[in-house]
Symmetry: C2
Subunit: 349 residues, 2 copies
């Protein structure tokens, strides 16, 4: 691997007490090209613009996928990734569905490790802060016919991350637009899945919500996920969440929350959960909490659910009593090496 | 508008008797940036690479849309566009759904006209050949949070075009994968709609087909469209095609074919057409023709339909007797200024 170091780090300009998601990018980036059937010439170079053909298939036919993962520090400055193999596998399952070349484990691991070692000082020290890592794969060449590209670029860039949302969320149950379809690509982290959500999300925002709770595209009667989060419902001592089928993103945070909850003796139900059942329980005040979770978001609870022009408010309980806070703390404690890691999720870099 | 001319045209290298779609790109391209809420500094410059940020939202969240249109010459060398206003309107309706800035009519028209006048010699003289024009709009900046980009690039590039397909098509009725959903973005020319089709299309190709005939994502029992074509069925003197709802691309060729057919006294039905009805008619040998149409494809008939591991063959009639050839010739005659244009579709450049 070739390493091109920056001449002067931008890190002095950062106040780590005042970082917000996506505002600062680390000094370097990993870059690798796929040509003639092979990944070649991996390089780490200063973060900056790239040069591509206007024919790049990513522009015309949308071959673009990504991952989102985080690096954490413990109080001794040791660096950990959280379940990186899960991201690696999901990247390749996205690649497969979008007819893109797979990434080898060594390319992924070596690129990531090297980049993190060079930009180590960009990983915040504070508990709850982290370096968000964005591996992404784009089709970089092609011709104007709708066939898979022959050339690709795989890159990794990093941004300092703190809280993604600063407050509890107001979420609208979507009844018109949809995020994905049976037989579609909802389970992948394809770039195209996100652009289609912007317009319905703006409409929801104009109606006073922060995010959308997606429902199935055929009937809008079953709950799927929300924005960049999987969603959990805590009802009568059951933690309920939609099954990770082909229509929703199989979140690594979701998986981890389920595992932690089960270990703590909390009953978890992965099942098709209908909007009407949710509304029934909201009306009866039986829903104790609703929260979303994801790598960027971590865990964030909802305070309001909107459905057909009616709003349902979640109980305003103290954080100490929240199952979402309990699970979030457990997760962060594992990620920051504060407690034991009984599941083998931490990966020391 | 700034014009940067190439120093030496690449056109001498082209044999116009031997062009295939997407193999040659004209000397220049149109380029314009959207920043601070405004389109600014439109420029025509030599066709070539562009420089973008790795954060460009098109890479991560898929804000990318395009159009496909063609410029034709008549035998006197006059240049015509075909229904360009339709492309303009569709581009903006795609932009709206993907929360991207609209393009003004003057920007679109002036960019297009100027580019075509500079690269006029790239428009082939031959009947049936044309210059395919690709306007596209991509999100060029952003930050790693899933929100619409604030910066965009609008470009127009051109490629010489002849036949897209050289033979009749073998098409598989898809029963597992899907292209779009109710409440989704199937009606837009969003880049993301195409990447998701590559994998199912490859599977179909491995089974001996060229393309997929998409069906509705909820039940796979109603016919939608195919690859980059809308599809028509000629059954018992009726020309049947799926309605242009929110799930399929509202093709300009489709519209034009319908208008021409009606004028020629052919009965046209835009209706939900079920797979079972199609198969019934195929079994009874009542389907005279099936064909796809689109700007790139023009009109191309199908010879085989695959459904649940069975193949149905369309009658092998001479081109002279084909309604698809009749309609195609009518369309091309209008496009190349061979016959009158009763509909006002030709736009002289
Ligand atoms: C649509 C969607 N759902 C859920 C998630 C959560 O997945 P993960 O926990 O793996 O970050 C994400 C990613 O952050 C996402 O983009
Ligand atoms: C999915 C799809 N359907 C149909 C068509 C045909 O549309 P048009 O006739 O406007 O080119 C296209 C574009 O070529 C397309 O991409």
């Amino acid at each position: 691997m070739i390493i091109e170091n920056i001449s002067h780090s931008r890190i002095d300009k950062i106040d780590f007490n005042d970082i917000s998601f996506g505002n600062h990018y680390s000094d370097h980036m990993f870059y690798c090209k796929f040509e003639n059937g092979k990944w070649k010439n991996p390089i780490i170079k200063p973060f900056g613009d790239i040069t591509v053909s206007p024919l790049s298939l990513v522009f015309h036919y949308g071959q673009a996928i990504f991952e989102g993962m985080k690096a954490y520090k413990d109080k001794y400055g040791n660096v950990f990734l959280f379940r990186p193999l899960e991201n690696f596998n999901r990247l390749n399952s996205s690649a497969k569905r979008l007819e893109m070349p797979l990434i080898s484990k060594s390319l992924f691991r070596d690129g990531l490790k090297k980049l993190l070692s060079i930009d180590k000082k960009w990983i915040p020290n504070n508990y709850g802060q982290s370096l968000y890592i964005r591996p992404f794969l784009i089709a970089s060449d092609g011709k104007l016919s709708a066939n898979p590209s022959k050339k690709y670029i795989f890159m990794i860039i990093c941004t300092t991350a703190s809280n993604y949302y600063l407050t509890p969320l107001k979420v609208k149950i979507e009844q018109k637009y949809s995020r994905s379809a049976d037989g579609g690509i909802g389970f992948t982290k394809a770039a195209g899945n996100y652009a289609s959500s912007f317009y319905p999300t703006r409409i929801a925002q104009e109606e006073g919500y922060d995010q959308i709770l997606w429902t199935d595209s055929s009937t809008h009667s079953f709950i799927e996920e929300s924005g960049t989060m999987n969603v959990f419902f805590y009802i009568k001592n059951n933690l309920i969440t939609a099954p990770a089928n082909k229509k929703i993103l199989n979140g690594i945070t979701r998986k981890s929350i389920i595992t932690i909850a089960k270990k703590e003796g909390i009953k978890v139900k992965e099942c098709n959960f209908s909007v009407s059942e949710l509304i029934y329980n909201l009306r009866k005040n039986l829903v104790k909490e609703i929260f979303g979770c994801g790598t960027a978001v971590v865990v964030n609870h909802f305070k309001k659910i909107g459905y057909k022009f009616k709003n349902y408010y979640l109980p305003n309980i103290s954080n100490k009593k929240r199952i979402s806070f309990f699970l979030k703390k457990n997760l962060l404690d594992i990620q920051h090496n504060v407690i034991n890691d009984p599941f083998g999720w931490r990966f020391k870099v």
